[in-house]
């Protein structure tokens, strides 16, 4: 679909986003909530903003759709300053998901998802078709659920609808403010997995705010760590865990950052040793197992080597304890992924 066809202010696909010396000083405060933030987020990447409370992560995010006006600096979407865009058009082009979800209780699921498309003047049947498509994409049943009201769903399901609503007009950019913070841990884990799957299918540029480092590592292609309104480190989860920029980041990611790092990789990312004669006797794991789980299995089984299986169940090779420990040890700080 083209911009001319739909009237989207920001087109479909995914957009690059950049903070350029963005600063926010709230009236009556001496210190800046966000200070000279310069940050480039590539199209279709998930960028996690993380930091302790008061670090300015939500403020930074809400300046993107001008829920909070910036004091100085700029923010650009695909090179266009957000100041040059009409405020309502800007917001209609950016999906917004937040912890409180904020579904409209008086509208059906279809009505909720169709909010922005209707504002953009889509015909009724196109809105419906889009709502059906999205509902399926987020794992709900279009035939059953389209005509229901938000109160008829669990918190996790409501947030799925919230995510669908944020993507309804094929917005190239999504802002997510602790989106899975209010659901129970099991549901949160599933929502995270499903969102990553969804993102792989429909890549959007995502700014994701959280205070949970595990969530940041899991969800982010890149993580921006903020402290007192300043950017402390901006890098991939692996680099941040491997080489925290300073004491603050090291503390923030936690003393178990070595183990956390093992979660970033799967056995797929390693160069395996060929499966020898003894391979059949070893415990087996799938190739998409995280290194952390592989290590855990070695400790539980009291072995120093595992046989790795490909999806068909055939032995692909073996992995040694030493390979894993070397990976997070001091000799080699990162692997080529």
């Amino acid at each position: 679909m083209t911009t001319a066809e739909t009237g989207e202010p920001l087109g479909g696909g995914a957009a690059g986003l950049a903070f350029v010396e963005t600063t926010k000083v709230y009236p009556g405060r001496n210190t800046a909530a966000v200070s000279n933030l310069t940050l480039e987020i590539r199209a279709s990447e998930i960028c996690v903003l993380i930091g302790p409370s008061g670090s300015g992560k939500t403020t930074a995010m809400q300046m993107v759709n001008r829920l909070i006006p910036m004091t100085s600096g700029d923010i650009t979407i695909d090179g266009r300053s957000i100041k040059s865009l009409d405020q309502t058009e800007l917001r209609r082009g950016i999906g917004y998901v937040f912890q409180q979800i904020g579904l409209f209780p008086h509208m059906t699921v279809e009505g909720n998802i169709g909010t922005v498309p209707r504002l953009l003047g889509w015909p009724k049947d196109r809105v419906r078709a889009r709502a059906r498509e999205l509902l399926e994409l987020v794992g709900l049943d279009p035939d059953e659920d389209l005509r229901r009201y938000p109160s008829q769903f669990s918190g996790g399901q409501q947030q799925r609808i919230g995510v669908a609503r944020a993507m309804a007009a094929d917005q190239p950019l999504m802002l997510m403010d602790e989106p899975f913070g209010a659901v129970d841990p099991i549901a949160r884990d599933r929502l995270q997995d499903d969102f990553l799957r969804l993102h792989a299918e429909v890549p959007k540029t995502v700014v994701f705010v959280t205070h949970d480092i595990d969530e940041a590592i899991k969800m982010g292609h890149r993580i921006a760590i903020l402290r007192d309104g300043e950017l402390v480190q901006y890098d991939t989860p692996d680099r941040i865990l491997a080489e925290p920029a300073n004491e603050f980041v090291a503390d923030f990611v936690g003393a178990d950052r070595g183990l956390k790092r093992l979660r970033v990789w799967t056995l797929n990312d390693l160069e395996l040793e060929p499966a020898g004669d003894g391979a059949a006797a070893l415990p087996t794991v799938g190739e998409d197992t995280s290194l952390r789980d592989a290590l855990s299995l070695m400790l539980v089984e009291g072995v120093e080597r595992l046989t790795v299986l490909d999806p068909s169940g055939a032995a692909k090779g073996t992995v040694a304890l030493e390979t894993i420990t070397r990976l997070i040890g001091p000799e080699k700080r990162a692997v080529e992924v």
Binding site: R91, R92, F98, I101, G102, F104, T115, V116, R148, Q152
Partner: protein, 239 residues
Amino acid sequence: MISLIAQQPVIPEFERGSECVRENKQFCSDWFFDNFDRVFGPRVVEHIELTAIAVGIGFVIAFTAALIAYNRGWFERSFAIFAAFLYTIPSLAFFQLMVPITGLSRTSAEIALVSYTLLILFRNTLTGLQEVPEDARMAARAMGLTQGQILRRVELPLALPAIMAGIRIATVTTISLATVAAFIGVGGLGQPIFNAIQSGFKTEFVAAGLLAVLLALVADALLVLLQRILTPWARARRV
């Protein structure tokens, strides 16, 4: 109520009506049905008109005031005090007070009746708006709805149950109060009641009172029905 009725009742069709009428029993259904079209029908219509106009105009005023108060806090207090003041005026006195200004007219009656609807309609509309969940408002803002769109598409629909509750109370109250308006000769079901107080004819008195109660019940039921149609989400059950 019996004490209100004159000692020497003036019975219609003296010596010619049914036994029930001649003995002035509590309620003579034969007389009621024979005379409904003449004595009560037009009064019921007048009563509905008095009520509908009062609630209609009252709603327009109160709704406008609530919208202003929703955006400008200071107005809430001022209008609430004004409406509460009107509400405290005794109804019989209010109707009488209007006569020197607007005469023995329907206008006089409506001014008083409208005044009594303002407090409840204003309060309920404003409370309904103020109790719209902040999350919904925030989501609407973030999605790029304008202020007007937020009001029309989110805030007013969500305030609707509270607004409808106000309209129900205002309607029932007005139906009751409108009987007093007959005091200044504007018809309605109050007129047969006033007649009966003077003549002592019990059937007319009881019938008019019952019709007013029935009217209130029917109006309330219709408004409940309307509210159900307008707020389907309120009845959605978890599955």
